[in-house]
């Protein structure tokens, strides 16, 4: 498999989100890494969102009912101005600019070459190229089923999960099909009728029908041999001719109403369906306080969007209580939002079954109304009020159920009234059947005519019931065959999903553990990995001081959980990105202390040195650490103003240049110089492992130049380094500035000329220990065969015995 190789050479935004007019971010022709610093709200995430929109045509943070496609357009953009995102790559044939056509609500790319289409719609589409706090929090708090989906998405296995889910859903629909249930009921009813009322036994085949029909025809003295449906039809026509015509048709019509009434009577009682459905509804609404929170669903959904954009919030916007930090509140909001999502799904399930029951009730009232009309047509007197009453009571029950569900209140139905009215309808139908029987009797049929009519009825009813049964049995068999075969496909896909995900987990877990461990140097935290849980879930697991922690968030601190999310993302990038060799880390540090930050930079340095990384941060301190760790990166500072949109400013690698510029403006720089020299001496001493007296905690960080300079001098002497004889070293050592610092005098006492000279001396002093690429001479980088040590790239050396 080929390695991903595409890096970005520049990003150009026009009127996109925070960017007004043209905003280029130049990343050089070889696709260098870049760190961007800016306070929250200054537009850093516009870069991530532009990349997301370019590939995914959407921005996850802007999804939801309050958002619209045109929200990607800069608020200050003039009508008619184009909104574009241009990404330019080391593979120049992939360069493309995406334009949003607001009028037509559509997007277009200016690159229509097949190579770009294959890249954009293929591997790049599934590459993992950006990580932000929201994505980490989402993944950590996702249910195990959602994690499986997310993981599948990351590694390009989404199709398997989707297709498996479609097959399962179609299978489920087959198994629960109301049609299948009706067919089974009808088959059972027909066979019952054939046994009790027609042939005296169940008949489910044409052969059986022909045999039984031949027997009955003999009672009409018709000796025709029935071997086909045509034979049967012919015989029936003959049988009809043996009957008195008017009386026969009247009897047939009356028998038909009788049959209909008894069918309605058999299925009219709805209490079991309603009870079952209401029981699950009542269980769900028992905890009203919990259920009431579902009203917060939309609010939390919106809160998530707001917090995503403003981490500076310190107080809850609703209750105004202190919340520590926006990140903490965001995690909590996402957690609650997900729990409510589950509740909402349950509620939707109950709503569906309630709707099914209501449809059943509506069908019963329609049947009763139709029966009422038919009885009236036959001019049979009956208790019409009882039927009307039934319809009213059922309609009232439907209203109560709908209203109760709307308010999520208890649904109480008058069960005794329902039982009573059902009983009355059955009584009415029974009485109508008796009347019909009397009417049939009044047809004054002779016993011979009755016998003939009875046989004829049995023949026609028998024929219909058997044919209906055969058709129902055939359809049931077709359903069952499909259920069996779809189960095979479902089980194949489930196995495929499991095998593939297991393969993915095996591949990725080693690195998740490696990266997590690199970020958390704690012996008690081991074996961080993702594993399959149950039929279709995926969850992180971890050994936490000897106990298995699943999910790890039960045991881990916020920063540890955060680092688990970062470890997973980086492992996914390493193993599954197929096209792009770049990724964006958008303000991913949550509750990270200094050690975590250093470890993350070490991890990026060790494992992703050949990747292009775009790192966005709102923390100046970390930005400075990145500068020291990766001096060959591009550094930018970002600002946003309504009238200008986002602007980038180059951030100088070395603070001395800024001090020089400040001094040139006539500002006092004594303290700046002292701070700079202290920082420089700390880096040098750290790199050369210079010994200083032991101090606890933060006091160790507070060492001043007056202490560090003599310690460095002593180390140079101990290792017989030539540095102490170098003029650049001696010049600074002998300078009034250093003498003042060492004796704790105020360095601002110098003249402008002295200050400029001191800046030069410090720069020359720095260059003894730090190369042009910003790498310090390191004790760890010994020059083989010589008593020398060098910087990491080996371009400067000093004597070191």
């Amino acid at each position: 498999m080929s390695e991903p190789e595409v890096k970005l050479t520049s990003i150009v935004l026009n009127n996109f989100r925070g960017a007004k007019s043209s905003l280029p971010l130049d990343l050089s022709r070889d696709g260098r890494s870049c760190a961007i610093y800016g306070d929250n709200g200054e537009g850093k995430s516009t870069i991530t969102q532009a990349i997301e929109w370019f590939y995914k045509d959407t921005i996850a943070a802007l999804k939801g009912e309050m958002f619209d496609d045109k929200d990607i357009v800069n608020v200050a953009a003039q009508p008619g101005e184009a909104t574009t995102v241009g990404l330019f790559f080391t593979k120049t044939d992939l360069n493309a600019t995406k334009t949003f056509e607001e009028g037509r609500r559509r997007t277009t790319f200016d690159n229509r070459r097949q190579g770009f289409i294959t890249y954009h719609e293929g591997d790049a589409q599934n590459d993992r190229i950006y990580l932000d706090q929201r994505t980490i929090a989402n993944f950590i708090w996702d249910s195990k089923g959602e994690k499986r989906k997310e993981l599948a998405k990351i590694v390009g296995l989404e199709d398997i999960v989707t297709v498996k889910s479609v097959i399962s859903s179609a299978l489920n629909e087959l198994e629960r099909s109301p049609r299948l249930r009706d067919l089974a009921t009808r088959l059972q009813y027909n066979q019952g009728q054939l046994t009790s009322e027609v042939f005296g036994e169940a008949v489910a085949t044409l052969g059986g029908l022909f045999e039984q029909s031949s027997k009955l025809l003999k009672r009409l003295s018709i000796d025709d041999r029935v071997e086909s449906l045509e034979d049967l039809e012919k015989a029936l026509r003959k049988a009809l001719q043996t009957l008195p015509a008017d009386k026969a048709s009247e009897k047939i019509a009356l028998e038909s109403i009788k049959k209909e009434l008894s069918q309605i009577s058999d299925s009219i009682d709805f209490s079991v369906d309603v009870d079952t459905c209401l029981a699950s509804y009542e269980t769900l609404i028992r905890d009203k306080e919990h259920l009431a929170q579902i009203n917060l669903y939309d609010l939390l959904k919106q809160a998530e969007k707001v917090l995503e954009h403003d981490h500076t919030i310190k107080n809850c916007p609703l209750c105004e209580q202190t919340i520590g930090s926006g990140e903490v509140l965001l995690s909590s909001v996402i957690e609650r939002y997900k729990k409510l999502s589950e509740l909402k799904t349950q509620l939707q399930g109950v709503q569906t079954s309630l709707q099914t029951v209501i449809s059943g009730l509506q069908s019963r009232t329609a049947q009763v109304n139709t029966a009422k009309d038919k009885i009236n047509e036959r001019k049979i007197s009956f208790n019409e009020e009882a039927l009307k009453n039934f319809v009213q009571i059922v309609e009232a029950a439907i209203s109560k159920m709908q209203e109760g569900f709307e308010k999520k209140s208890t649904i109480t139905l008058d069960k005794s009234a329902i039982t009573e009215v059902v009983k009355k309808v059955k009584g009415v139908f029974l009485s109508v059947v008796e009347t019909i029987d009397k009417q049939i009797a009044r047809l004054s049929l002779s016993s011979e005519e009755r016998e003939k009519l009875d046989v004829y009825n049995k023949l026609t009813i028998g024929k219909n019931l058997v044919l209906e049964s055969i058709s129902a049995a055939k359809e049931i068999a077709a359903f069952r065959g499909q259920i069996k075969e779809m189960s095979i496909v479902e089980s194949d896909l489930l196995q495929l999903q499991k095998d593939t995900l297991q393969k993915v987990l095996d591949i990725i877990s080693d690195d998740v553990n490696k990266y997590f461990h690199a970020l958390n140097k704690k012996d008690g935290l081991k074996e961080a990995k993702l594993e399959l849980v149950g039929e279709e879930g995926v969850e992180f697991s971890l050994m936490f001081y000897g106990s298995k922690a699943v999910p790890p968030r039960k045991f881990l601190s916020e920063s540890q959980i955060n680092s688990l999310g970062i470890a997973f993302f980086l492992a996914a990038v390493k193993h599954f990105n197929k096209a792009n060799r770049f990724f964006v880390l958008d303000d991913v540090l949550l509750s990270f202390d200094r050690n975590y930050r250093v470890r993350l930079l070490d991890l990026l340095y060790a494992e992703f040195f050949d990747y292009q990384i775009i790192l966005l941060t709102h923390e100046e301190y970390w930005f400075d650490m990145i500068k020291k760790k990766f001096p060959d990166w591009i550094f930018k500072e970002v600002k946003w103003k309504y009238e200008d949109g986002i602007t980038f400013k180059d951030s100088k690698l070395d603070g001395l240049d800024e001090i020089r510029a400040k001094q040139a403006r006539g500002d006092s720089v004594g303290n700046d110089l002292r701070s700079y020299l202290e920082g420089l001496l700390k880096d040098i001493c750290l790199s050369l492992e210079v010994r200083v007296p032991f101090r606890l905690g933060i006091d160790n960080e507070r060492r001043m130049a007056g202490e560090l300079f003599p310690a460095l001098k002593s180390a140079l002497k101990e290792h017989r380094s030539n540095v102490k004889d170098v003029s650049a070293y001696k010049d600074l050592e002998m300078s009034a500035f250093v003498a003042n610092i060492i004796s704790h005098h105020n360095p601002d006492m110098q003249s402008d000329g002295d200050t400029a000279e001191t800046i030069d001396k410090i720069a020359k002093f720095r260059d003894i220990f730090r190369c042009a690429k910003g790498r310090f001479i390191s004790r760890a980088k010994e020059v083989p065969g010589k008593k020398q040590i060098a910087c990491k790239c080996g371009c400067i050396v000093i004597e070191w015995a």
């Binding site: 498999m1 199709d159 779809m486």
Partner: protein
């Protein structure tokens, strides 16, 4: 770094090809699944549900 893991769509294409040629399920269903997958119509339930309905109808009418 990369790995030898195939993408989901490739894995499914292989699966539906295999299903198409083996005799695990009826010819009608395996041909229909193969066709729907190749037409990118297995990402939603609609097409497969309609296909199942029409296959049942055909079987019942025979």
């Amino acid at each position: 770094m990369g790995n030898d893991l195939k993408r989901g769509d490739k894995i499914l294409t292989d699966y539906f090809e295999r299903l198409h040629t083996d005799g695990k399920i009826s010819k009608e269903l395996r041909e229909k699944l193969h066709e729907l997958w190749n037409q990118n119509k297995l990402k939603t339930k609609t097409h497969i549900t309609n296909a199942l309905d029409s296959m049942r109808e055909q079987q019942t009418d025979e």
